[in-house]
Assembly symmetry: C2
Homo-oligomer: 532 residues x 2
Amino acid sequence: MQYPLTLTHILERSEKLFRKKEIAGRMPDGSMCRYSYADYFARVHRVAHVLRQLGIEEGDRVGTLCWNTSRHLELYFAIPCSGAVIHTLNLRLSADQLAFIINHAADKVIFAEASLMPLLDAIRDQIPCVERIVIVDDEYETLLAAAPDTHYQWPRLDEDAACAICYTSGTTGNPKGVLYSHRCLFLHSMGLSLADCFALSERDTVLQIVPMFHANGWGLPYAAIMNGSRIVLPGRQLQPADIASLIQDERVTVTAGVPTIWMSLYAFLEQEKFDVSSLRLVVCAGSALPRQFVELYAKKYGVRFMLLWGMTETSPAATVMTYRSHLDELPEAERFDKLARHGMPMAGVDTRIVTELGEEIVWDGATMGELQVRGPWVTSGYYKEDAPHGASFMDGWFRTGDVATIDEDGYIQIMDRTKDLVKSGGEWISSVDLENAIMAHPKVAEAAVIAVPHPKWQERPLAAIAPLPQFRDSITKEEILEFLSGKVAKWWLPDEIVFIDAVPKTSVGKFNKRALREQFSSGSLRPASTQL
Amino acid sequence: MQYPLTLTHILERSEKLFRKKEIAGRMPDGSMCRYSYADYFARVHRVAHVLRQLGIEEGDRVGTLCWNTSRHLELYFAIPCSGAVIHTLNLRLSADQLAFIINHAADKVIFAEASLMPLLDAIRDQIPCVERIVIVDDEYETLLAAAPDTHYQWPRLDEDAACAICYTSGTTGNPKGVLYSHRCLFLHSMGLSLADCFALSERDTVLQIVPMFHANGWGLPYAAIMNGSRIVLPGRQLQPADIASLIQDERVTVTAGVPTIWMSLYAFLEQEKFDVSSLRLVVCAGSALPRQFVELYAKKYGVRFMLLWGMTETSPAATVMTYRSHLDELPEAERFDKLARHGMPMAGVDTRIVTELGEEIVWDGATMGELQVRGPWVTSGYYKEDAPHGASFMDGWFRTGDVATIDEDGYIQIMDRTKDLVKSGGEWISSVDLENAIMAHPKVAEAAVIAVPHPKWQERPLAAIAPLPQFRDSITKEEILEFLSGKVAKWWLPDEIVFIDAVPKTSVGKFNKRALREQFSSGSLRPASTQL
């Protein structure tokens, strides 16, 4: 019973059981490259031999700067199972941040796509820890070809050994490193595969849209291989037409991604006809998906959306919208209200909401509090940081920095980031709620709400709205306010509305409110024509 | 990430999430007693208070001698979560064996059904370790009523702490104790709930037919509560009519039991009309289920059977018949051949077959070898026994004592117990295979094959056959041999056939071959009229 929970077990079991299953990857020219699990694992063994030849030892960090490709998937297993730590580099970071995390993790070798080499070239003299950069192209293939064609003798690792590290995309301060153990990612893979979570099966075809540099690709690559699912890797092309054609041509059953992916795909499917009927589950996380998309996809395409909440610090999946039996009895509108929540804690995960004083709040679906979580795949500290401190932990619980409500069924609704709340006259306004209400307007593509200082109320909301292109010239502030009236409390109505072309995004596709705040909320609020 | 994997987590999470879900138990008078998870957990807290009042401390063993009832389910959580060890006593053991395991485990308190008290009364003076016997009846209710009506403060347990102990039903020598840790049963619960295992969901209604004293009730009670499934407990009545009516009336979706249960239920459903269409999965283990029942249930009732293999030492589930996608393409007969195998290792479990010299055997579906397993819910030793020895372990693998083949898909077929093989002239005859071939005969109810000494071939097979009642006077040895001809190798044909009323069974319903051997194989084989 002391048998260790490791990614090596997943590798060895799936290598024996699922030899004929397929991994398909889209190449830069749009063609598909296909090989079997047997071929895949043979290459994983070769990569491990290469790592040893490059001088990688147990515990060393090895960076990857790659798109979602089969080669990246090879590194996903070869690095951890050989005892090293895979450090997936976010290719959307600034040069400064990239140099910071490479140095902080002390990456010894980096595997990088040829197309992404300019990012490294720009900082090459700032990352002296990196002894070697392998271009994941002909150079990678040459190294593999020269490696022994024999089984690599995987080391017997302790389950608490580190296997991966990801850095938070922190919008304030330097990124922080979260180190994952083998045990952590093994258990996370089991958690995702549960019937009431993703119900991942050997029968699934999983399309890996979530970037594999984003919080372990949400754990899907490890879970898919644990179950012997067919895997489709989209490469670097992630436009709606690319996604729609992959779903149709490869008969994808499960996929996952951030809301903007699904909102733009929906708009695309309205214009062009694609068959997406093979989809049984779309997992959506990263930020709130406006409720109407859950309903529209369900009704128009029969596609079930499962909202998920998590963070880099939670591996990342912590709560999922399990569609429980009592929801069947609800009127349709209430049912979709529930389905647009962020779900309940997965088996293994414990959640609570607390007041600013740390008192636990009852689950009434209305009272907001800071969401705190604990569980076997929740971090207990940051890499190279001192003992856990109060800003991040409380009595063994991880403080998420998210504000949420929990209803009597245990379903969570993330209302805001603690720092994004609009604190108006001692009361809280959820910027996310207000954004969703605005995005329900038929002329609106995106909307972000930020707090701006106010002499009387301390803070008041400002809405930055990106209209759909065809309404750019005709949309008015008045019609937005009229639309909101009755849908949100009167005192929630934004004091100012500005129209913009698009909401700025962070490196992982979330609304970048820091950028908006810098643009709009410096100084005091100028009198707005729409102020009530 | 050091958050411990405990049954306490399952309890605390399900207590919060699934308050309205139902637990229904059949009472001795046939009526159903129903209560909610909320009521159930409130009583679990009371039971924990009672345990403390009875002087139970962390690590103490507490016995249960109970049928499958909601009170037994209360003890299933209250004992382990309060830090003690639940010892489920097999009510079909002989008095000697019962006294042996109670003393070996040193049970301090035993909770026993009133109807089973005669078993304890008979050995009361042989079990001095037992300080108190609580009758699970009015006495139990009185104790609960007197206990504090407050939440019990569950201790924070280490995941490696013991939570349960079961004894093997060992047909030779004294029973051996297998101690389960919280981690072990937590992981086993997750394993059972995976989509490619039982896919247990909140939407399921689980009928607990497997006795809860039999290897943790195959782990179903813990897994069902982890997922918030509705639970139906049959009490002590397990005749086909009882089972059929529970499935029909309670709309059961998942259940599990030994082959004899399903064989007799099938015969019953042929006579009486019941609606079993709610069943989506029947798990079958304990011994081999003749292939035709998998096919008959599927075709006649649309019920999917999932064969499972495991042992007390494997918590018990180790391999399950995951119905993988490539099976869809097989001709029907081949598909059912596969579905009648014992499945592939669950995620987390590793399997191999080895020769008598310990060399690993290739997975060709034909070569037999001893089955060995390892994994986080496989035992690493027996309770109060010295360090693991060669008879039970080899290089970290548990030696199951079962002989199996593994095919190229990783599907296992248990051919026999090592000790039940018929070793004829240096070749192996699988007694189980031969039994199944005989049981396919339309006049046969049950058949067991044992080895009997032979002067030339060392051993030869003897078949003890129980005909269906209506054929008891007309069945002949010749027609059996003729039926087998062409279905099994000629040298597998039994040298002797005897007709009996029923095959003797062990305490858990398996064929008791030891009893048969004592009856038939003492001395040398007498000349048989049917010898070829």
